[in-house]
């Protein structure tokens, strides 16, 4: 697999040498981590031009991950999206069940090149943790995963998967006990163990070079999708839609389309119970510029720079920050960001399950809900790619509680059926 899959064309690219995407990015880290972060940056620069690295990663992507991932047209779902054509980029079909494996394999190879023997990572929904534990099993690396205590409860299946793979899972009890706090704890570990430990950061945030490096490893999503849609539909899409928490799957889909000015890049943030309730994690919609976890971007914070506790039904999007390149795309106008409530996402999750036989992750369901709106705006001539970033197995407990699927109560079942009938009716 050629290096085009993870190395972008350097022409006119961000970030600059200091790691800035316009006003966003940079390196706001303690001095103790500067040498380690510099080492990662230097190793990545070397790896990018090393054909052996490209070959190894390419082999893994094809023979281990199962790339290229499918591009699936979903006509029955699309009937609810104003009749626009909708294609799903099936990152849920990757080994481990989400896009996260793309970045993890790249960084695991770097870990080995740096001679480090231990990997730590944060995880929200558990998908990055599972992918990291998987790569550590594959490469024989020690692995510790930090996960907020609330998330270990709502994503218990993934905790079991990580432990099965041999990783130590630490339930973080500080702060809001979600993804943000897991990252804090991982940073504390890294500062203390940096000589033999690589922090395998899971999203396009953090200090330079992580936002650019993680993006490059996920860029394969958009490169494949662009080629596939040209083959299948004969033209570029009108919109590429993805959910955004930290923003890794979204930047992975968007990046190859940035030069295609006709393609709208639409990120869907978690609006939780609604922006107006304050219970959300819609960082670009409701946040302000600030510094969190090593870079400047938009941040959910109060008037004195204290980070506020985010909320989303989706553990993977429940984060008060966002990758700096998304902040840059928002401010430049190239990216559009809208907020999707818990309820809209859950309805989209059920709709895709029942119309296409594909159960998406709750994270990805935010993108599907966004696509339903975008499709109605575009109308029948519209063509949309949605990044289906992960599969929903891990979310069945949350979904079952949300929809009352654990009840044998006939009235609950009947209610669920009638709602589906309404959905079907809308499409007629």
């Amino acid at each position: 697999m050629p290096s085009e899959f993870f190395v972008p064309d350097p022409e006119g690219q961000v970030p600059d040498a200091a790691g800035y995407f316009g006003a966003f990015g940079g390196t706001f880290i303690p001095e103790a981590l500067v040498a380690a972060v510099d080492e990662v940056a230097a190793e990545y620069e070397k790896a990018k031009t090393d054909p052996e690295f490209a070959r190894e990663l390419g082999d893994l992507l094809v023979h281990y991950t199962g790339r290229p991932s499918a591009l699936t047209e979903v006509p029955r779902f699309a009937e609810h999206a104003g009749g626009a054509r909708v294609f799903l980029k099936r990152e849920d079909l990757n080994h481990t069940g989400s896009h996260k494996i793309n970045n993890v394999l790249g960084q695991a190879l770097l870990t080995r090149r740096m001679g480090k023997t231990r990997v730590i990572a944060e995880t929200g929904a558990g998908q990055h943790g599972v992918a990291t534990a998987t790569a550590c099993a594959l490469f024989g690396l020690d692995c510790t995963i930090y996960m907020g205590e609330i998330d270990t409860e709502r994503q218990a299946l993934n905790v079991a998967r990580m432990r099965m793979l041999g990783a130590e899972v630490v339930a973080v009890k500080s702060g809001s006990r979600t993804l943000k706090d897991a990252i804090n704890e991982a940073f504390r570990d890294w500062v203390a163990n940096v000589d033999h430990t690589h922090y395998l950061f899971g999203t396009v945030a953090g200090p330079h070079p992580f936002p650019a490096m993680v993006r490059d490893f996920h860029r394969v999503i958009g490169v494949e999708a662009r080629r596939q849609i040209l083959e299948r539909a004969g033209r570029l899409p009108d919109a590429a839609v993805a959910c955004v928490g930290g923003g890794s799957n979204a930047i992975g889909l968007f990046h190859a389309f940035i030069p295609d000015s006709s393609v709208r890049l639409i990120g869907c943030e978690p609006a939780g119970h609604g922006i107006e309730t304050g219970e959300h994690a819609a960082t670009l919609t409701a946040g302000e510029p600030g510094i969190l976890h090593g870079s400047r971007s938009y941040v959910l914070q109060d008037d004195e720079g204290q980070i506020t506790e985010p909320y989303s039904i989706s553990a993977g999007l429940d984060y008060p920050g966002i990758g700096p390149e998304h902040a840059y795309l928002k401010d430049s106008g190239r990216g559009e960001y809208r907020a999707v409530t818990d309820d809209a996402a859950m309805q989209a999750l059920r709709l895709l399950s029942r119309t296409e036989g594909i159960i998406p992750a709750i994270e990805s369901a935010h993108a599907l809900a966004g696509a339903l709106e975008v499709g109605k705006e575009l109308g029948r001539d519209g063509l949309i790619i949605v990044n289906l970033s992960g599969r929903g197995d891990k979310d069945m407990d949350t979904a079952a509680r949300y929809f009352g699927l654990y009840e044998t109560d006939a009235s609950v079942a009947a209610d669920a059926d009638s709602e589906t009938a309404e959905i079907e009716g809308d499409a007629q």
Partner: protein, 276 residues
């Protein structure tokens, strides 16, 4: 950077550290968070550690996400933030602690609260309150130009942290940009008390001194008089934080806590004069 021009007390900090050196001893630098256990209780605690023998105090401006702090200071920050501490309270803490003692008082915090508050506004107000400067451990030297411009204008010192992992050329870059003193992290890790101060500290102080005339003070993990004496043997100052906070947390009531930190400051002040 003259204290006559503005209210910043960088010169007082320099004079205080020079005076300790003239006495052939290390300085004792204590850390306590503002607003912990209350704003007034925090001010009383700072006065108590000055009374016990601290030469300089760093006032922590609590942050919701203290990624460089261990469980002790995290707990204190949580208590302060739940109590509703604001930056105005931190500035009042600095003002009252400095006014009551005439000693140098620094602020230590994470970058986002100051970035959000506004660098010009914060440096102006800190100087007016009689602050001597700031330690900003997640603002590395390459991102610090705007901060230093304003701090210098206001007569405030900018104390940078150096770590055992800092390479020699990097140490030179950091110490050239810093003022007041250099904060040498004794080990790779977050704040908290440790059984022993590693050998890394002495080597780091040696490498740092090769790049600067600034005093080099050692922090992280120092909690008792024996460690203070050991560090005083090779450094210009000894920085103690978590041990003070822990005394306050462990005390059954505020008065007992104040006595405990005063006593600890006295024991540590003796330690820095022993120079093991």
């Amino acid at each position: 950077m003259s204290a006559e021009v503005t209210g910043g007390q960088a010169q007082l900090l320099a004079d205080t550290l020079a005076a300790a050196k003239a006495e052939d001893r290390a300085a004792l630098i204590a850390y306590l968070p503002a607003g912990f256990p209350t704003v007034d209780g925090g001010i009383a605690a700072i006065k108590a550690v000055f009374d016990g023998g601290a030469d300089v105090v760093e006032v922590g401006l609590p942050h919701s996400d203290p990624v460089l702090d261990g469980p002790v200071i995290q707990t204190a920050d949580d208590i302060a933030l739940r109590g509703g501490v604001r930056i105005a309270d931190v500035l009042r803490t600095v003002r009252e602690a400095h006014a009551a003692t005439g000693r140098p008082v620094l602020v230590m915090t994470y970058w986002n609260p100051l970035d959000r508050y506004g660098v010009e506004r914060f440096t102006t107000e800190l100087a007016e309150a009689g602050g001597a400067g700031c330690i900003l451990p997640d603002l590395p030297v390459q991102e610090s130009a705007l901060w230093r411009e304003h701090a210098e204008k206001q007569g405030l010192a900018t104390v940078f942290v150096v770590a055992p992992s800092s390479k020699d050329e990097r140490l030179a870059e950091i110490t050239a940009a810093g003022s007041g003193f250099v904060y040498a992290a004794s080990l790779m890790g977050v704040t908290g008390t440790r059984e022993s101060v590693g050998t890394q500290a002495q080597e780091l102080v040696r490498r740092t001194r090769a790049t600067t005339e600034l005093p080099v003070c050692v922090g992280l993990g120092v909690s008792n008089p024996a460690q203070a004496a050991e560090v005083a043997g090779f450094a210009d100052g000894v920085i103690v934080g978590s041990a003070f906070v822990k005394r306050m947390l462990d005390a059954p009531d505020e008065q007992t806590g104040l006595e405990a930190v005063r006593t600890l400051a006295g024991e540590l002040a003796e330690g820095v004069r022993r120079r093991a």
